[in-house]
Amino acid sequence: MVRELEKYLRPGIGVTTYCPGCGEAILQGLILRAIDELKLNMDEMLFVSGIGCAAWIPSPYFYADTLHTLHGRTIAFATGAKMVNPKLKVMVISGDGDLADIGGNHLIHGARRNMDMTVICANNQNYGMTGGQVCATTPEGALTMTTHQGNPFRPFDLCRLVKAAGAVYVARYAVTQPMAMIRGIKKALQTKGFSFIEAITPCPVQFGRRNKLGKPADMLKDLMSRCISEEKAAALSAEELKGKIITGEL
C-alpha cells in the first residue's frame, strides 16, 4: 500500500490476517483509494463488518469508527446506526458466506428497504477462514472441504439477487480490474440508497489449492481471462459463457 494511504490505517496495527496471495488485501487498497479520491471524511464514516476473512478488511485496519459484528448480521447492525444518525456514511464490508449464506435474509431486506448504505461483498467462493468449506457462491462441481465429490448445488448470482430485491446500484468487478473497481466503489458511495458491489477475489490457500488452480499469480491470470462485460457476454452462446464472469454495472 502506498504511503499516502497510510493515514487511513489505524496506527499500531501492524500485521494483516490475509493468507499469502489473498485477493482481499488488493480489495482493501482499492476501497481506500476510492475513499481517498472522493475525499471522504473518515470521521463521518462507519464501517460495519461481520465474521470471516473479508470482515477484517475494515476492522481493525481502517482508522474510523468500525463495528465488527456477529456472523451474518452486518446489515441489521448498520441499519440501526444509520436510522439513528443519518449523517453517518455507512459502508458494510464482508464476505460471501457472511452476507449471502447466514446473512442472506438481511441482505435482501436491506436492499428492499433501500437503506442508504454501500455493501461490498468480497466473494472468494468459499468459507476461507474456517478452512475452505462450500458456501452459497461456490461454483457447481467445485471441490471444498465439505464437497469432496464436487459441489452438487448451483451458486447464487448475488448481483441479480440484490438487484431483484431493489438495490439502486449494483456492480460486479474482480480484484484484477482495479481501475474499474475503484470507479464502481466511488459510484456506489455516491449513490443515495442501497448500493452493492460484488468483488470477486481469489482464495489460493483454501479454494485454489483444492481445485488445482495453481499459484496466486495463476489464479489472478485465470480471473483476468474469465471476466467479460455484459455486452460481450450477450454475443456468446450458453456453452461459450460457461465459466465466464460478467462484470460491470448490472
Binding site: P60, L70, A76, G80
Partner: protein, 380 residues
C-alpha cells in the same frame, strides 16, 4: 450526562393502559431514541403503539425482518448514540441470544422487554408463562452478567421500563424487563408523575471505551461520529477495543470486570418489597404476576392468624442472594410459587438454609390465589 430530571412525556395524571401500552409509554418517558422489533404475541401491542408514538416524537422505529435483525439493529443504534429497545416473547428471545452475548461483551446499553408466554417452542402462544427466567441469565454462550427486572402490574411495567433504561445506561449492559402475558395484556389504572429521573451514558472524549481503572468498572461510552475512531468487536479486546484473543489475563480480566461492574452494585440495582416478614414462620418468595396471587393468599391467611410473610422480587438478576440467605435463617420454610418448573426456586435453594418448597405451574394459566392458599395451609 449522568442523572437528570425531565418532565414526563405524558401529561401527569391517571391512565387506563394495558401492560404493553405502559411499556411503550415507559420507553417514551425514558427518551428511547430507537425501537426495533418483530410482531409476536403477546408483545405486539407495544410495537404498534410505539410505531405511532415514535412518529410523534421523531424517534426511529423499525419493524425488522426477524428478531435477530431487531436486536442487532438496536446494538448499532445504541452505538450511534440512542437509547435503544427491542420487544419480544419467548421464541424471539431465543433468536436474540447470540446478540445478547455480543451486547454484553461490547458493553452496549440496551433494553429488552420479554413478554413471556407459555413455552417451550410455540407452546401455548397466547397463554401466560414465566419460563424465560433462566434463559435471561444463561441463554447466550459463555459467562456473563445482565440485569433482569420482574414487574407485577401495569404501573410497574411503566416504571420498570424507565428503570431498565436507566440501569442499561448506568452500567452499559443489556437490561431485561421480564413481563408476562398476564401483565402485558392486563388493563389497569396507572399514574404518571410530573417528572422522570433519567440516567444518560457518560461520555469522556479520548478515554478508552472498553476499560477503566475506576472502582466503578463502567467505562465512558462515545458514539459513532464523535471522532473517537471506535474499534468495536465481539472478540476479546483490550481497553481500546483492540482484539486480544491469545492473552489469558486480558480475557480473564475482562470477564471479571463485566461481572464485578454489576455484582459490586447489587445494592444499587436490586429492588424488592416485603410484607409481614417480621414474625413470619413461613415465607413466600415470588415475582411477577404470581406475586399478586401470593400476596392476596397470604393476606387471607394472616386473617386466620397464620404467620406467613411475602418477599416479592422486583429484580431477578443479579439475584438477591444475601437477602434470601437472611430470610432463610429466620423462617422454617420458603414456598416459591412460579409459572415454570422451579427456575427461581432452584436459585432460592442455593442460598436459603431452610426447607425450600417449589410450586411450579405451567398450564398456561395464572396461579390462582386459592391454589397458593391450599399449598400454604398444608404447611402452616
Amino acid at each position: 450526562m449522568g442523572r437528570q430530571k425531565l418532565s414526563s412525556v405524558l401529561p401527569p395524571g391517571s391512565y387506563y393502559f394495558s401492560g404493553d401500552e405502559a411499556v411503550a409509554e415507559g420507553a417514551m418517558a425514558a427518551r428511547c431514541g430507537y425501537c426495533a422489533g418483530y410482531p409476536i404475541t403477546p408483545a405486539t401491542e407495544t410495537l404498534e403503539r410505539l410505531s405511532i408514538r415514535f412518529g410523534e416524537m421523531r424517534a426511529a422505529f423499525m419493524q425488522m425482518e426477524d428478531e435477530i435483525a431487531s436486536i442487532c439493529s438496536c446494538i448499532g443504534a445504541s452505538w450511534a448514540g440512542a437509547k435503544a429497545m427491542t420487544i419480544t416473547s419467548g421464541p424471539g428471545f431465543s433468536l436474540m441470544q447470540e446478540a445478547i452475548g455480543y451486547a454484553v461483551f461490547t458493553e452496549t446499553p440496551l433494553v429488552l422487554v420479554d413478554a413471556q408466554r407459555s413455552g417451550p417452542s410455540t407452546g401455548q402462544a397466547t397463554r401466560v408463562g414465566s419460563g424465560d427466567i433462566m434463559q435471561a441469565k444463561w441463554g447466550s454462550h459463555g459467562d456473563y452478567m445482565i440485569i433482569a427486572l420482574s414487574p407485577w402490574s401495569v404501573q410497574e411495567l411503566y416504571d420498570q421500563t424507565i428503570n431498565a433504561f436507566n440501569l442499561a445506561e448506568r452500567f452499559r449492559v443489556p437490561v431485561f424487563v421480564m413481563a408476562e402475558e398476564a401483565t402485558a395484556h392486563l388493563h389497569e389504572r396507572m399514574e404518571v408523575g410530573a417528572e422522570v429521573e433519567l440516567f444518560n451514558r457518560e461520555k469522556k472524549p479520548g478515554a478508552p471505551p472498553f476499560g477503566t481503572k475506576e472502582e466503578d468498572g463502567v467505562p465512558p461510552m462515545p458514539a459513532f461520529g464523535d471522532g473517537e475512531k471506535l474499534l468495536i468487536t465481539g472478540s476479546t479486546h483490550d481497553e481500546w477495543g483492540v482484539r486480544k484473543i491469545t492473552h489469558p489475563e486480558i480475557h480473564q480480566g475482562l470477564i471479571n470486570r463485566l461481572h464485578k461492574k454489576i455484582l459490586n452494585h447489587s445494592q444499587e440495582i436490586i429492588q424488592y418489597d416485603n410484607y409481614y416478614l417480621d414474625d413470619a414462620e413461613v415465607a413466600v418468595i415470588c415475582y411477577g404476576f404470581t406475586a399478586r396471587s401470593a400476596l392476596f393468599a397470604v393476606e387471607q391467611l394472616r386473617e386466620e392468624g397464620k404467620k406467613i410473610g411475602v418477599l416479592r422480587l422486583k429484580t431477578l438478576w443479579p439475584f438477591a442472594s444475601e437477602l434470601i440467605q437472611d430470610i432463610g435463617s429466620k423462617v422454617s420454610k420458603i414456598v416459591v410459587p412460579e409459572m415454570n418448573m422451579g427456575q427461581v426456586a432452584g436459585e432460592v435453594k442455593k442460598y436459603a438454609r431452610c426447607d425450600v418448597i417449589p410450586y411450579g405451574q405451567v398450564n398456561g394459566e395464572i396461579i390462582h390465589p386459592h391454589t397458593i392458599m391450599e399449598q400454604l395451609r398444608r404447611l402452616v
